[in-house]
């Protein structure tokens, strides 16, 4: 076998392996759809805008409601729940921290199953949020714990399988849930 072909074959194999090890936006979208969600409420998040929000905006199966502030989004999700619809709020962790009172009053005390997917801007790949050098990233999980809100870290491809059950659990318990996106999906 010519050496070039062997190199190409090796390259393809390595490429497929690398691809299997990254979080993919299309896998996230498939999981969101499996969870029965057709309404997305969103502000742009630097971690997920390119390969999650932009494809969702172009997806004819999804209705994306763009909001000006994250607490609006929590309320819109509550209204959609009252109307019998499932929804998902996309935002950056800065927006989540800005929305603590809305999560307290609407999601937790109001027993609304607000499902949130939150990009951890500046979190280092492979590093746990608690060990991040970013203060903003480090405080997210303790804040959610203090609020009593369930959360899941979605960083490796296999983590995607946790999304649909987490959403089901949120609606079964009438309680909010947060999926923390730990790395930029491709």
């Amino acid at each position: 076998m010519p050496s070039g072909a062997g190199d190409r074959a090796t390259g393809i194999a390595m490429g497929e392996t690398a691809l299997n090890q990254v979080l993919r936006g299309d896998a996230l979208i498939a999981a969101i759809k499996r969870a029965g969600i057709r309404f997305i409420v969103a502000l742009p998040d630097r971690t997920t805008s390119e390969h999650l929000l932009k494809p969702l905006l172009a997806d004819p199966q999804m209705r994306v409601v763009q909001v000006c502030k994250e607490d609006e989004g929590i309320s819109i999700c509550a209204g959609l729940y009252a109307a019998g619809q499932r929804s998902l709020l996309l935002m950056q962790h800065t927006g989540l921290l800005d929305s603590v009172n809305a999560m307290r009053g609407i999601a937790v005390e109001g027993r609304n199953p607000v499902c949130m997917m939150v990009g951890l801007l500046n979190k280092e790949p492979g590093i746990a949020p608690a060990d991040s050098k970013s203060y903003g990233v480090r405080v997210v999980e303790p804040v959610l714990d203090a609020l009593g809100i369930a959360h899941h870290l979605i960083e490796r491809p296999g983590d995607v399988e946790r999304i649909a059950p987490a959403v089901e659990d949120a609606y079964a318990r009438s309680a909010p849930v947060v999926m923390l996106i730990g790395t930029e999906p491709l």
Partner: protein, 189 residues
């Protein structure tokens, strides 16, 4: 000139048929007495969020008319909602603003901006299909029925002042049993 708020709400109640009505703070306290219905939604839970809840309901049930009874203090806390609503463009949403110039529930302190702020200007420039202001009961009574049927989103400023006193009952406004009744009533309608 301003209308007594409870009189203003009674006009709306007379024109109400099967609309969902989302209400906040003092308007909610009065509305639950004036127009009792399982299709009243008062479970707002955080500051300035009534119109956002109403938008969610309107988008989730485009076949139903949704009215939000907002307050000026509330709207000032969530002004971006005007842009969000106009951009989402729900045809079934009527956004009523009970403008009294104060944070009435929290001690009747004046709102910033006083009489200078143009909420109808904000709504119009955000992209609402129509905006209007009422400060006389007879004008409101004449137009209310038509506005409830008109294609939205519509913004209606109601210039109000306190009228008769109604008892405060925040426990009722946030009672989850009433929220579940609302969900069931809306699902069945």
């Amino acid at each position: 000139m301003a209308m007594k708020r409870d009189q203003c709400l009674k006009v709306l109640a007379r024109h109400r048929t099967d609309e969902v009505v989302v209400a906040v703070y003092t308007a909610a306290q009065e509305w639950t007495h004036i127009s009792a219905s399982d299709l009243n939604y008062t479970f707002i839970g955080a500051m300035g969020q009534g119109s956002s809840h109403a938008l969610g309901i309107a988008l989730g049930r485009p076949d139903r008319r949704v009215v939000i009874l907002d307050g000026d203090g509330s709207l000032l806390m969530n002004l971006g909602t005007l842009v969000t609503i106009a951009n989402a463009a729900p045809k079934n949403l009527v956004h009523c603003l009970c403008r009294n110039g104060t944070y009435e529930t929290n001690g009747a302190v004046a709102t910033p901006g006083g009489d200078i702020v143009s909420f109808t200007g904000f709504a119009r420039d955000a992209g609402y299909r129509r905006t209007c202001t009422f400060d006389r009961l007879e004008d409101w009574d004449r137009e209310a029925g038509g506005l409830l049927r008109e294609e939205g989103p519509i913004f209606v400023e109601l210039r109000v002042e306190p009228g008769d006193h109604y008892p405060e009952d925040f426990a009722r406004l946030y009672d989850l049993e009433y929220r579940e009744r609302f969900r069931r009533a809306l699902a069945l309608s």
